[in-house]
């Protein structure tokens, strides 16, 4: 099932916006995590971890799910398909893995925010964990963006079979 051109453009726009929004939010998160890790001001450190929790729950998670959903629509609604091309498959894998890790990490963010809100020692906030997760996420999303632009060649066995079927049908 392929979408009409106008719908396809709309879906593509939604996918680009959600993916770029996710990437930008990760960069902001990275900045906050560095501030939380390096700042000598207690208020700044607490504020950074509280902001990281909010960004994680209300920006990163929605953008990641939106990116995944619009990506699925975009691939299944066009001739690219979801399992036909390696670059689409790689992007799907990146998106799913990053989303799962992000959803799991929200627990850690809530825990850190709990400490930052004043119920625990500030020392334990000096963790490189948010920055490491942000860098890893950023690398994954940059890889996905690069794959989207370059669209490296390579069809899967399933995709090749589908191509052969289409050619056979068109020759009849």
């Amino acid at each position: 099932m392929t979408m009409a051109p106008r719908l396809r453009k709309f879906a593509l726009t939604a996918h680009v916006i959600s993916s770029v929004g996710w990437l930008g939010a990760v960069v902001v998160f990275l900045g906050l995590s560095v501030a939380g890790l390096t700042s000598q001001d207690a208020q700044t450190v607490r504020a950074a971890y509280l902001a990281m929790e909010s960004i994680g729950l209300f920006v990163l998670v929605p953008f990641s799910l939106a990116s995944l959903l619009t990506g699925l629509v975009q691939s299944l609604g066009t001739k690219w398909g979801l399992f036909r091309h390696y670059w689409v498959l790689a992007k799907l894998l990146i998106n799913v893995v990053a989303s799962i890790i992000l959803l799991m990490y929200t627990q850690t963010l809530s825990s850190l925010a709990g400490v930052a809100s004043g119920s625990g020692e500030l020392d334990v906030l000096r963790s490189p964990s948010p920055a490491l997760h942000a860098v890893a996420g950023l690398l994954l999303l940059l890889m996905a963006a690069t794959l989207s632009v370059y669209k490296p060649r390579g069809v899967t066995r399933y995709g090749w079979r589908k191509q052969q079927e289409l050619r056979t049908v068109s020759q009849l």
Binding site: D41, Q43, Q107, G118, G120, E121, D123, V124, G154, R157
Partner: protein
């Protein structure tokens, strides 16, 4: 010296031509026409790098001697502990990272 301007002919392929020339801009035309079913090198490289990273992270989680999860950021798994120190002078509670027992590593 007279410089020769290369022409874009069959003998001088355009270096920056897109890998999927029939699908520029995702306009819905058939992509990847004529591709072979063999696994491309970039997929193998990406797969190996991903596998190594996954094994590395799993190894660190298993043998690194540390917990991985929200519990490691609190003392003994809960958030009870020292009273809020919002009024503490900057750096007072932050200088010198002294991990508490059961804290993160």
């Amino acid at each position: 010296m007279k410089l020769r301007t290369p022409r874009a002919t069959e003998e001088t392929p355009i270096a920056d031509s897109p890998p999927y020339p029939d699908s520029v801009g995702d306009i819905g035309v058939e992509p990847g026409r004529g591709s072979t079913p063999g696994t491309p090198r970039w997929v193998k490289v990406l797969g190996i790098v991903g596998l190594v990273l996954v094994l590395l992270i799993a190894g660190l989680m298993l043998f690194g001697g540390g917990q991985h999860g929200p519990g490691r950021h609190t003392q003994s798994g809960d958030t009870g502990g020292q009273a809020p120190s919002r009024q503490a002078p900057s750096g007072a509670a932050l200088d010198g990272h002294t991990p508490s027992p059961g804290g993160h590593r």
